[in-house]
Structure formats: structure tokens, C-alpha cells
């Protein structure tokens, strides 16, 4: 049970405090409600570029990292399609340094030309390292636009095209900051041996003076219902074939979310899962095979992706996955299997709560989803899922017309096939 309290500053900043008396550190998390989905289609990759620029100095503080390191702190950040998240941990005694640093970069950035020039290059190298210079590295760059035709989930956080980053101007960057980086669009969570009163005082001093900003009204084109199976063939210089099937699923706060997540666990969670035992171990069709959900806030994807064993062909691999889909659609899972996956989820929740940083991130994300109490109620929500609900979800989403399939062929192997 995570006990917390929350309040809102006049400028709209939402603040959550969870006191944990057992730790000498404090975790401070600042979530900005802006992700890759909020980018203009002609200027993608900005939310993530911004994550880099946020370390390039703010209006009153030339370096973010130096003072934090001097205070014994450590930090990092991540960007996804829904939001951008900055987190740090610092010895309790120096907590004020965290408030000073985080409030100043919410107030205004330094916007140095040098920082923009360098971080553009760093992001380009990140793009090459993660997406171009790895076998199968462009997998999501291909799958996103294949599965999404309207919704901005069609591009990755790194951007639709790296030229968008190469061409980013100071003016673009400033406009992006103006639009999204203000208290009204942010959530602050603090976890450590600190009281609500102490956090309020620090907030009054450091965050309250920041001007409110104009609340960003999100208007995102929703993805129309897919009505026909889509097929994409690509050939790349990789050692082995890979297959991917993506099915549209519900949004994060939909009532079906928990059943959908458990469906993926029945198929692919742990070494006792169906796909691993039957298709990887028994039939030896795949060297790796996963079924998972993307867990996005808007309607996400239920994904199967597998690398084929040498000598297995795509049609055979596809048919084997479809057989498993048919089984789970036709036959309810047993109570024993249901119990197993809910126990598994319960443990995962407990294990992930060990870290104060994880708790800080979870509190902020739950607030973003509209209900902080989710940090305590999610395990219960998973436990209430029935095997009928899992079967119903399977029958609702794992259907042919809802599938975007990709054959990712190893160069040279395709010629042997039709």
C-alpha cells in the first residue's frame, strides 16, 4: 500500500508526495504531458530531442548536471509516444537542490546554439546506434506506419525521418518549449523521508512563481477501425527471418485493458507460457517468440513477434501462431492458468515497488491517467479478471481483419519461396 497526498499549485502544477521513512534518498520525478504523439507530422522527434536539450542549461543555471552531481544526485530521463519523464535521486539533506534545478528548467531554458548543435548530432548518433546499426533495428520504424494510418503513433519517438532532427531550428525548439513545458502541463512527484508540509514549502519557494502557461488542448486524430488484414514484406541484411503480427487493442484506461494484458501473459509471460513451450521448445519453430502489449495511453497494439529457426518458412510460422490464437479464442483458459498469471502480476507489482524511483514514476503516471489511486488498485483489478473476459478480448481483437502483418525476410532467403 503506497500512502500519498497530493495538491495543486495555483499555476496548475500537480504535486504528489509519498513519505517513505526507510530510505536516505529522495526520488523526484517531473513528468511533462507531451510525447511523440503531440508532434507536428512535419517536425517529428521533437519531444525526444527536447529530453536532450533539457540538460543544456536553464535560464539561471548554466549546467544542470554539475550542481546535481555536487549534491550527490543522479538523474536521467525517457521519452515515449505519450509523455516525457525526468527523474532524479538525491540524498535527502540536499533535496532543495533538486527543486532549484527542476523549477529553473520549467521556468525557462538557456537555449544555447552550441547545445542545440551538439544534441542534434548526439540524437543522430543515437538514431544510428539504435535503429540503423543493429540487425532488426528498424523493426518499429516499419511497423508503426504499417499499423497506424491516422494516429500519430505511426512514428517512433526518434522521429519519422531523421531529417526532421537535422533541420530543427532554434525557433522550432523555442515554440515547442513554449507550448508544452509549463506547470500546467506537468506533474511532480516526490518520494522519500519527507512530509507533505515540507514539499509544499519547497514548492511555494521554487515552483509557485512560475507563470501558468496556456493549457495545451490535445486534438489527436484517432485511428479508424481497421477492416482488412494488411501485409508488408521487407528484405534486410540480417541472419534470420522474423515475423510480426500487430492487432489494435483498447486504450490504457479502458475496462478491457487488464484482461488484454493477462491475455498476453497467458501466451507469453514466463517460461511456462504457451508460445514458449509449444512453439519455441516443442515444435522448435522460433528461436525467440513474444506476445506483448504496447501499453500506450491511446489505443495501443497487441504484438506477436518472433525470429524463425533456420529452415522454417514464414507461412509455417504464421500458421503456428494462428493455431495458438484459435485455441485461446475457442477454449477458456483454466482456473489454474488464470491463477498463475494473476500471481505473476501481483509479484511484478510488488517487486517494482521496491525502488523509490519506480514508485515516483508510477505515482506521476497514475495521475496522468486520471487516478493516482491506480498505484494501489491495479493488482486488485488484475485479480478480478475472469477467464471469460480473457476469451472475449481474444475474440474481439485477435481477428484477421484487425491484423497488420510483416514478413521481415533475411536477404537471400526469400528467393526459395513463392
Amino acid at each position: 500500500m503506497i500512502k500519498y497526498s497530493s495538491f495543486v499549485l495555483e499555476n496548475g502544477l500537480r504535486v504528489i508526495v509519498h513519505q517513505d521513512k526507510t530510505t536516505p534518498m529522495v526520488a523526484v520525478n517531473v513528468l511533462y504531458d507531451v510525447g511523440a504523439k503531440d508532434e507536428h507530422p512535419g517536425k517529428t522527434g521533437f519531444a525526444h530531442l527536447f529530453e536532450h536539450l533539457m540538460f543544456g542549461g536553464s535560464v539561471n543555471i548554466p549546467s544542470y548536471d554539475n550542481p546535481l552531481q555536487k549534491a550527490g544526485g543522479e538523474n536521467n530521463a525517457f521519452t515515449n509516444n505519450d509523455f516525457t519523464n525526468y527523474y532524479l535521486s538525491i540524498p535527502l539533506q540536499n533535496i532543495e537542490t533538486a527543486f532549484w534545478l527542476e523549477s529553473d528548467r520549467m521556468l525557462d531554458l538557456a537555449f544555447s546554439t552550441k547545445s542545440l548543435d551538439v544534441q542534434r548530432n548526439v540524437v543522430i548518433e543515437e538514431f544510428r546506434q539504435r535503429y540503423l546499426n543493429q540487425p532488426y533495428g528498424d523493426f518499429w520504424l516499419l511497423m508503426r506506419p504499417h499499423a497506424y494510418k491516422k494516429h500519430p503513433y505511426q512514428w517512433s519517438t526518434i522521429g519519422k525521418d531523421i531529417s526532421h532532427i537535422e533541420n530543427a531550428t532554434m525557433q522550432d525548439v523555442k515554440a515547442f518549449y513554449e507550448k508544452f513545458y509549463h506547470p500546467h502541463n506537468a506533474i511532480l512527484s516526490v518520494v522519500g523521508n519527507i512530509t507533505e508540509k515540507e514539499v509544499r514549502e519547497l514548492c511555494c519557494k521554487w515552483f509557485a512563481p512560475i507563470k501558468k502557461g496556456i493549457k495545451y488542448q490535445r486534438t489527436i486524430p484517432q485511428e479508424p477501425v481497421q477492416t482488412k488484414k494488411r501485409m508488408l514484406h521487407v528484405e534486410r541484411d540480417v541472419p534470420f527471418d522474423m515475423i510480426c503480427m500487430a492487432y489494435h487493442m483498447c486504450a490504457r484506461v479502458d475496462k478491457d485493458f487488464y484482461a488484454t494484458d493477462l491475455l498476453s501473459d497467458v501466451l507469453s509471460g514466463g517460461n511456462s507460457s504457451r508460445l514458449y513451450n509449444r512453439l519455441v521448445k516443442e515444435k522448435q519453430l522460433f528461436s525467440e517468440l513474444d506476445a506483448y502489449i504496447t501499453g500506450d495511453i491511446d489505443k495501443g497494439l497487441f504484438v506477436f513477434s518472433g525470429k524463425l529457426m533456420q529452415g522454417v518458412d514464414m507461412e509455417q510460422a504464421e500458421a503456428a501462431i494462428k493455431t495458438e490464437i484459435d485455441i485461446i479464442r475457442q477454449k477458456k483458459i483454466s482456473e489454474r492458468e488464470l491463477k498463475k498469471v494473476t500471481n505473476y502480476v501481483e509479484s511484478s507489482v510488488e517487486f517494482s515497488n521496491i525502488s523509490i524511483l519506480n514508485r515516483a514514476v508510477k505515482l506521476a503516471v497514475s495521475e496522468l491517467l486520471g487516478d493516482i489511486e491506480l498505484v494501489n488498485t491495479e493488482a486488485q483489478k488484475y485479480r478480478r479478471v475472469t477467464s471469460e473476459e480473457i476469451q472475449n478480448v481474444a475474440n474481439k481483437i485477435l481477428i484477421e481483419d484487425n491484423c497488420s502483418m510483416m514478413y521481415y525476410n533475411a536477404a537471400g532467403t526469400q528467393k526459395n519461396k513463392k
Binding site: T22, T97, R128, V238, K307, Y344
Partner: protein
Amino acid sequence: MTDRKQPPALKIIDKIDIPEPEIAVLDNHIPVYLFNLGDIGITRLDFIFGAGSCYQPHPLVASYTNNMLTEGTLSYSSFEIAQKLDHYGAWLHKNVSKDSALVSLSVLNKHLKYVLPVLNEIINHPKFSDNELKIHTQKDKQGFIDDCRKVNELARMNFNQQLFGSGHPYGTLIKAEDYDKLEAKQLSTFHSERYTVDNCKIIVSGKLNKDILSLLNYFFGYSKKGKPAKKTKISSPAISGEQKQFIEMPSSVQSAIRMGKITVNKSHDDYKKLFVLNTVFGGYFGSRLMKNIREDKGYTYGIYSTILSFQQSAAFIISSEVGAEVCSKAVDEIYKELKILNSELIGTQELELLRKYLTGTVIRSFDGPFQIGERFLSLLEYGMDYKKYYLELLKTINTVTTEELLHISKKYLGAETMLELIVGKAIS
């Protein structure tokens, strides 16, 4: 009005709580170290065996002995084991390093007693079969072949051999054929020789149930001592290979860089100072390498240096992936930074910042029972007193002088003594 240009006053942090474990011994003399801490109802059990890859007669034997422990035992099939662990939401983590093998179980306290019988089977009664082994080696071999297309993985594997030499147990380079040659019999032999009572230690951490010791004794204290494990001391000296190596990957848009040399390990008197020096150079985000090659030049997404400490040796390694066209410039910059480190005193401000940062890092690394258990584990293999080690480390961090660091730099990190490996596209 708050003056935002003025940083808040900093407090000196020097207090750190390093708890000592409670030490117990099972009936068969396996030592158990218990950290009964925190208020989270989870128990973690770490079983450590002196069964690392340096003891293996053939490549992959150590890692597959460890990995296949869960793939069938006297009483259970691999599926039954997986099912039982998943049913109780237990997380089993297995790992093999150069020196030791680890089997680690994390489980909610309420499920512990149901999982221990399975853990006993896994550790004491594995049944290695050629059939199960082949399923795993064939799929893993494909993963290995994929890895061989990654510049960074190739660099990691080959630099290891370049550092220690192909004849040294730390320098083994795995080949795809090795996966085909492995036999279950080799694993059974390795298991019976090295997963023995006298070669085992147990660390327990978490908010522990009262009956934890009697449970451990019931499940793990019965097996007989048996033959003692061979205490192999590596006799062959490490003989580093070529000073400079290049492996071509023509289609690569980035090149992987490795530079480094053999150095002293944790048990050496100079190690703690070298640790501080390494942090200045490339051990954190504010390091000189990161500031120059990423934050000033933009050549890379990241560059680090690290000291890998093993029981009988250690390696200092610089690693990065950089744009293929700027690779030689990046290498030049690394040498430039090494030469500065070898010839100039570290500035007071830089060193003061580092002292504070590293102190925070050490405190952070003791946050919670499982982290504390990990710290303890990291020194157990060296037979060193962990509390003494960390208190001395903190002292070194806060008192080492800039002159001492310059001396350490000249002694251990001479620019001209570094080995170098590039994997990537040849640029004329």
C-alpha cells in the same frame, strides 16, 4: 524574491549505514549471510558457486550448466519447474561470470515455502539431457549469430581475447560451432565437480520470516560434503595480443571502439584510487570522455570507461560507438584525454565535485536490503570484509589527493600502453 542564480546551500553527507550480516552455517557447513532489513515482504536468496567460465574445460560449459539447471530435474520436467515458479510469481535469475555462477530467487514471503522444494531440485538434482540441451543451444546459436552482426558485441567479445590472450581462461572467444559441440555429459560432470557444498555460499536478504534458517537447513543443509571442488589458481599468465586490431564490418554506419589494458583488481591497495580516477576519466555522465566526445563534439550517443574486476585479474576498458566517418577523430581525442590525465593534475573543483558525486553514489548503492546484499556479494568472492572495504572506499573518495591520482594515472593508465580495437567500416 528568491535569487535563482544562487544554489541552495549543500550539506556534507558522510553518514552511511553499512549493516553487517548475521552469519549462520547449515548442517553441512554451507555459510549463510542474512540481511534481515526493510519492510517489504519479499525474500531474495542468492546461491553463489565457484563455477565461473574460468573453470570450464570447454567453451560454454559453465554458462550452460547454470542455464540448464531449470531444464529438467530428478522429479520435475522443465515445464513443471517453469509452471511452479510462475505460479508462485517467483523470479529466478541465473548468471555466470568469469569466476562464479549465481542462482538467485526472489519471491513474496507468503510463497517462499512452496518454492524452496523446486529450488532444491534445481540446485541439487538437475538432470541434464542432450535433447533439452540441443533445443537451447540451437536457438541460442541463432542469437549468437545475430550478435555477431552488432559492432558493439563483436568488439566486446574480441577485445576480451585481445586483452587476456586466447590461451587464458579469461580470454576465451566463443565461436558458433561451440554451440554444436556441447554435450549433456560435460554439464553433469561440471555440476558434480563445482556445484558442491564446499563451493557454495548463500546470501539471504529482505524482510525475513522467522523460520528462514530452518527452512534453508531442511532443503539445503542435508547434502553431503562430497569431494572438495578443485581450487584452480590460474597459472598461465595473461598474454595480451596485438596492440592494435581492426575488424571490418563494411556496411556499418557506426564503429565500435575498445581501448584498454589489464590492471589491478579490488583486492589491490591501489584499486580504490584507480576507481576514483576512472570515474573522473569516463565513469559517469560528467566524465571527461563524455564531456569531450559526446557533449562537445557530438561524435557519439555515449562513451564510458570502466574497471572490470575479476578474482585473479582485472581490465580497464574504454568503450563507445561513434559515427564511422568520425571514428579516427574520436580515437585521437581519447588519446588526447589520456595524455592529459597522465601529465596534468586534476583541478580542485573537478575533484571536489567528484567526491560529492561518488559519495552520493555509494550511499545510493546501499539503499534497501537487496542492494545491500548485492554489495556484500560483490566482495564475497575476494574474501574481503565488505564493511571495511566500503568505509575505506568512502575515505579514499574524500581524501585522495590530486597528486596521488596523477601518480596512479602514470602507473596504470599510460596512453602508450593501451590496446586498441576498432570494429566497423574501413575509412581510407
